[in-house]
């Protein structure tokens, strides 16, 4: 008999619909997997009752002869950045310990409305700030992957959606939600050999999702393949009147529109993405990707995005600035922890609560953000960064005159070992070099697995699309997926 945890979202959905198996069997199979994978530390909270309730509803509906919802019988993992009613939500930060929302985020509600169930809340970098999942207050998430060098180093699952990437790669859930501010869906997807898409800014509502950097944050799906990503994204996206930046557009039928035939498509290769010190293997995977695109019928054009190298510094002004303000609400008054030293006044209570509640990386970014917004520095840093952002967006607009999608590596390296980069913030920030520019421009972008490096670790390719052209991105991703034949999976050691 097939292992139900091996067949992905489309397979589960179709199998439940045609009666090949019960939704309840699927839920039970994943619940067992989750309970056996504590070593990965991917889940902060397990919610088997939620998954079972959704599965039971799907089975009951089918028995009653009703039309099943789009995700009926599909259990998923939920990044802990999404507020879930009645289920502890912490953004992996001590400062929100014990916080139980009385409300459901729009994205998670959309998924439940589509029939999905929740296996649990996924670990992540604290407040989504990190690229390795080492900033969680509740311990590192471990990648299910190991190097093939015989060593047993624990590897980073990427970040900030590291619980999501680790869980999907280890088959603890067939799909998961992620959020992407500067690469937090794409980089962990690349590190763990799965797919993930960040849609156009405004496609997914931000209401009820704990904010990191408002002008950049976007939710998106992480799953085993392109089709599963399309299915999940269709359920997650949609206009929401509660989010002033939500796009008032219908959600396209992305799954139905999938096609790996790229005849007539122009694929741009941005020359500035060829950075110093990039491993040879990444360069050769990129070349392989170009060949696959051609094979699928696309034509290749070299394009220039001249302000690429300024994207990271601009991002590390804008994102911390917004974060320093977004995180001001964590003050020990209305929710989360309160640290009240003896005899402390209100302002002392704030300072003590925040010193105790925030982890070092969160504090670092709040400090940077506070600094760049402070009197005398605002124009030199923040205004200049937003001007550079305009130039970066303009670079992309010019590129769209010559091509329809862009193909780049997702990350400048394969997964690194935990602890390897945590001492040097800038080295860590450089991991987002290929993902940040499209975030700054609000563009849809996706990572799909392309192959393995010499150490046996997955490498990802990134496709960046025009605003609102998720379909183009998914189709190019599908063309790569069909040709890459990526079937590698980590061996279960956990």
């Amino acid at each position: 008999m097939t292992d139900l945890t091996d067949i992905g979202i489309a397979g589960i959905r179709d199998g439940v619909r045609d009666g090949s198996f019960k939704a309840r069997e699927v839920a039970d199979a994943f619940i067992v997997k989750v309970s056996q994978a504590k070593a990965l530390n991917a889940f902060l909270v397990e919610t088997p009752e939620h998954a079972i309730a959704a599965a039971t509803a799907a089975d009951t509906a089918r028995e009653a002869g009703e039309t099943l919802k789009p995700l009926a019988g599909v259990p998923i993992g939920m990044k802990d950045l999404f507020c879930t009613k009645g289920v502890t939500t912490t953004a992996a930060s001590h400062i929100l310990e014990g916080f139980t929302p009385t409300y459901e985020s729009t994205v998670s509600q959309n998924l439940w409305d589509a029939g999905a169930g929740m296996l649990g809340k996924l670990n992540m970098d604290q407040f989504a700030m990190g690229s390795s999942n080492e900033t969680s207050a509740f311990g590192n998430v471990i990648s299910p992957w190991k190097r093939n060098d015989g060593g047993n180093a624990s590897l980073a699952p990427g970040g900030s959606s590291g619980g999501s990437s680790s869980a999907v790669a280890a088959r603890l859930c067939p799909g998961a939600t992620g959020t992407d501010t500067g690469g937090s869906i794409r980089q962990p997807a690349a590190f763990t050999g799965i797919s993930g898409i960040k849609p156009t800014y405004g496609r997914c509502s931000r209401w009820g999702t704990i904010a990191f950097a408002s002008s950049l944050d976007q939710a998106g799906p992480m799953a085993r393949d392109v089709r599963d990503c399309a299915i999940l994204l269709e359920a997650m996206a949609g206009f929401d009147a509660k989010d002033g930046t939500s796009l008032q557009l219908d959600v396209p039928k992305w799954e139905a529109g999938l096609s790996g035939n790229l005849n007539g498509l122009r694929v741009g290769i941005p020359k500035e993405y060829r950075v110093d010190g990039m491993p040879e293997e990444i360069e050769s995977l990129w070349q392989q990707g170009i060949a696959w695109m051609k094979d699928a019928g696309a034509t290749i054009v070299e394009v220039s995005l001249p302000h690429t190298k300024y994207a990271l510094p601009a991002y590390y002004i804008i994102a911390p600035a917004e974060a320093s303000s977004n995180l001001a609400r964590y003050d020990g008054v209305r929710y989360g922890i309160r640290d009240l030293p003896t005899g402390a006044g209100l302002q002392d209570m704030y300072a003590a609560t925040r010193a105790d509640g925030f982890g070092p990386e969160v504090k670092r970014r709040i400090m940077i953000g506070t600094y760049v917004l402070s009197a005398g520095f605002y124009d030199a840093y923040y205004t200049q960064a937003q001007k550079v952002r305009t130039l970066i967006a303009r670079d992309f607009e010019r590129a769209w005159e010559m091509c329809d999608v862009l193909l780049t590596p997702t990350a400048p390296s394969a997964a690194f070992a935990l602890g390897e980069k945590s001492a040097d913030p800038i080295a860590m920030y450089l991991n987002d070099v290929f993902t940040v520019p499209s975030s700054l421009a609000g563009l849809p972008a996706m990572s799909v697995p392309g192959g393995l490096d010499k150490q046996g670790l997955p490498l990802g390719l990134q496709i960046i699309g025009k605003p609102l052209d998720e379909q183009g991105v998914l189709n190019a991703g599908l063309a790569i997926e069909q040709r890459a034949g990526f079937t590698a999976r980590p061996e279960a050691w956990w």
Binding site: Y310, A351, Y371, R389
Partner: protein
Amino acid sequence: MSVDTATVKRIASLARIAITDEDAARMAPELGNILGWIEMLGEVDTTGVEPMTAVIPNTLRLRDDVVNADPLTGGGIREQVLANAPAAEHGFFAVPKVIE
């Protein structure tokens, strides 16, 4: 870019994060490095360039002036509002006494 410990302490105070002298001394070079790195932006000629306002062309939608039209953004939910408070008494949030 060099950042001194006094600056670190001033910023920490603005951000309401308690910090020891030791931590401030440790953070000073670290912040200095990061700020030095991002100062690379100064190279870019942005004459005549408008700062980004909306990444995807979109304008602000306005809400109708209706009370509690959507329960998720309406009032009358005191229980919910106070449910997670570290200290709530008599329908209020409680904080250490503020002397004005």
